[in-house]
C-alpha cells in the first residue's frame, strides 16, 4: 500500500462547552477498502466524523486528497465527494422515499440503477413517507441517498445500530459492495460486521487514538478487543 491516503487526520481536537472531547486524534484513511473507527460509547467516534465534516468547531488538520479542509463548510465538502451517512440515519420522516432520494441528487444523472439494484424495495415504496418505514428500510434510504452521486469517500456512522440480525447482514453486504468502488470510513460497534468489512482499524479512547493497524490483527487479539472495546468473549 504505497498509495496516498484519501484522508489524513492529524492532531484533531474538539472542545465543547469547556470539555475536551477530542484531544489530538491522528490517523489515515486508505484510498481503498474500509477503515473502521472503533471505540466504546462516548470515546469520540461520532465527534471525529462530525469534526471532519465541519459540523463541529475543531483544531488540528484534516487533509482530503492532499488539501486542507478543516473549516470549510459541510455542504462544500459533500459536493466534493465526501459523503456522510449519520448515526440515526437522518432520514426526513415527513418526506416520501422518492423525495428523500430526490433531495440528495447532486449530479445531472444520479445513479438510480445502482440504488434500485441494491434496494429493490425502495422503488416499490417510493410514495411512502419515510417516517413510516422500519429501521432497516430507513437505513437503506440513508445509504441510497449517498449512492446516487459519485463519491470519493464515505463516512458511515453505525449503520447497523438497532437493526435485526438479518438486516444487519443485508446492510453489511451492501457496504461490502460499495467499498469495492469507494473508500469507506466506518464507525461500527458490531465486531462481526467489522471483521467482515474492514481492512484497517483505528481505535479511539477518551478522545485519543489508542490503537491503529490492520483490522484482523485487532480482532484476533482477544485481550486487545476486550481492553480496548470492552466487548468479547470471556
Amino acid at each position: 500500500m504505497s498509495r496516498e491516503p484519501v484522508l489524513r487526520v492529524a492532531g484533531l481536537s474538539v472542545r465543547l462547552g469547556g470539555s475536551h472531547i477530542l484531544q489530538g486524534v491522528t490517523f489515515d484513511v486508505a484510498p481503498a477498502g474500509v477503515t473502521a473507527l472503533l471505540g466504546r460509547n462516548g470515546a469520540g467516534k461520532t465527534t471525529t466524523l462530525r469534526a471532519i465534516l465541519g459540523e463541529l468547531p475543531a483544531t488540528g488538520s484534516v487533509a482530503y486528497d492532499g488539501r486542507e479542509i478543516l473549516g470549510r463548510p459541510t455542504h462544500r465538502l459533500v459536493r466534493d465527494g465526501l459523503a456522510y451517512v449519520p448515526e440515526d440515519r437522518g432520514v426526513f420522516a415527513g418526506l416520501t422515499v422518492a423525495e428523500n432520494l430526490r433531495l440528495a441528487e447532486r449530479v445531472p444523472d444520479p445513479d438510480y440503477a445502482l440504488v434500485h439494484e441494491l434496494f429493490p424495495e425502495l422503488a416499490t415504496r417510493a410514495g411512502q413517507r419515510a417516517g413510516t418505514l422500519s429501521g432497516g428500510q430507513q437505513q437503506m434510504v440513508a445509504i441510497a441517498r449517498v449512492l446516487l452521486n459519485p463519491n470519493r469517500l464515505l463516512l458511515v456512522d453505525e449503520p447497523t445500530k438497532g437493526l435485526a440480525p438479518a438486516v444487519v447482514t443485508a446492510v453489511a453486504t451492501v457496504l461490502a459492495r460499495v467499498a469495492g468502488r469507494v473508500p469507506v470510513l466506518l464507525v461500527e460497534q458490531n465486531l462481526a460486521v467489522v471483521r467482515r468489512l474492514a481492512t484497517d482499524a483505528v481505535v479511539v479512547e477518551a478522545g485519543r487514538v489508542a490503537w491503529r493497524g490492520a483490522a484482523g490483527e485487532l480482532l484476533d487479539d482477544g485481550e486487545a478487543t476486550r481492553s480496548l472495546l470492552g466487548v468479547g468473549r470471556h
Binding site: T74, H75, V78, P86, G90, F92, L95, E99
Partner: protein
C-alpha cells in the same frame, strides 16, 4: 342569518391577514429557528412603499413594488443581520427585536407617526349580497388573496426543489447540509418569501383598514404569533387552520360579547390549546 354570514366572511378576511403573516413567520421559524420580531416591520415596509408609489405608478404596480420591497427587506435582514450570528438563536431574536424597534422608528421619522389614508381599488368599496347579507367586497379580496397564496405556497413546497429543501430543512437542517446543499440559501429564500407575504398582508391590511400607520404591523404581528403557536411552528397548513379559527372566533365574540372580548377569547383559545397540546395543532415539538 345575514349577520352570521357577514361575521363569517369578515372573520375569514381577518384570518386571511393573520395567515399571510403567520405562514411566513412559521416557515422562518421552522427552517432557520429564528423568531422574527422584525416581521411586523416587513409588513409596514410593504404597506408604506405601496402607499408612497401608488400616486406615481398606479395601484397595481405599487402593490408589486410594495411586495418586492418587503421581500428585499426580508432577504437583506437574513443576509446582513441573521446569518453572521449563525446558531446563536437568542442573539438572533434580540437582533430582530432591535431591528423592529429601529425600523418602525425610521418609518415614523420618514412618514410621520400619524395614520395615512391607504389607496384601494374602486370596487373594493362596493358590497355584494350573499345569502341576504351585504358583504363589503374587500373581504373577498382578502380571502381570495390568502387562498391563492396558500395554494401557491403548498404547490411551491410540494413540487419545487427549493420547496423540498425547505420541508427537509424544517425537519433537520444539519442533514440537509450533509447532503451537500447550502441550506443558507434556503434561509434567505424563506426570509424573502416571509417578507413578501408580510408585505402583501400589510398592503391588504391597509386596504381593509383604509389606513396605514407605522405601528400597525406590530399589533397584527402579535395575533400572528398566536396563530403560529396554535398552528404549530413550521406548518403552513397548521397556520391556515389556526388563522381561520382565530379570525372567526375573534369576530363572533367581538360582535356578541363585550368590547375587546374577542381579543381575550383568542388568547383564551391559545391557553386551552397549550393546555391540551403544548406543541400546537400540527406542530413538531416546540421545545428544542
Amino acid at each position: 342569518m345575514s349577520t352570521v354570514v357577514l361575521l363569517t366572511l369578515t372573520g375569514l378576511g381577518l384570518a386571511a391577514l393573520y395567515f399571510l403573516i403567520a405562514s411566513g413567520l412559521s416557515l422562518v421559524f421552522g427552517l432557520a429557528g429564528v423568531l422574527n420580531f422584525a416581521h411586523g416591520l416587513f409588513l409596514s415596509v410593504g404597506a408604506y412603499v405601496t402607499w408612497w408609489a401608488a400616486p406615481h405608478l398606479g395601484l397595481p404596480l405599487a402593490v408589486v413594488s410594495g411586495v418586492a420591497a418587503a421581500a428585499a427587506t426580508g432577504a437583506l435582514t437574513e443576509l446582513v443581520l441573521i446569518r453572521p450570528l449563525y446558531t446563536r438563536h437568542t442573539e438572533q431574536v434580540l437582533v430582530t427585536v432591535g431591528l423592529s424597534l429601529a425600523g418602525v422608528a425610521l418609518l415614523q421619522s420618514v412618514w410621520g407617526a400619524d395614520a395615512r389614508v391607504f389607496p384601494r381599488p374602486e370596487w373594493a368599496s362596493h358590497v355584494t349580497g350573499v345569502l341576504g347579507a351585504q358583504v363589503p367586497d374587500d373581504r373577498f379580496l382578502l380571502i381570495g388573496a390568502a387562498v391563492l397564496v396558500l395554494v401557491a405556497l403548498l404547490a411551491f413546497l410540494r413540487f419545487t426543489r427549493y420547496g423540498l429543501v425547505i420541508r427537509a430543512g424544517v425537519e433537520n437542517r444539519a442533514m440537509v447540509r450533509a447532503l451537500g446543499i447550502d441550506v443558507r440559501t434556503a434561509f434567505t429564500l424563506v426570509f424573502a418569501i416571509g417578507g413578501a407575504l408580510a408585505g402583501l398582508a400589510g398592503i391588504l391590511g391597509g386596504m381593509y383598514f383604509t389606513s396605514v400607520s407605522p405601528g400597525q404591523g406590530v399589533s397584527l404581528l402579535i395575533f400572528a404569533f398566536i396563530v403560529v403557536v396554535i398552528g404549530g411552528l413550521g406548518s403552513v397548513t397548521g397556520s391556515a387552520v389556526a388563522a381561520a379559527g382565530v379570525g372567526l372566533l375573534q369576530q363572533f365574540v367581538n360582535y356578541y360579547g363585550a368590547a375587546g372580548a374577542g381579543d381575550v377569547s383568542v388568547v383564551a383559545l391559545l391557553a386551552v390549546v397549550l393546555l391540551l397540546r403544548p406543541a400546537g395543532i400540527a406542530g413538531k415539538a416546540v421545545a428544542a
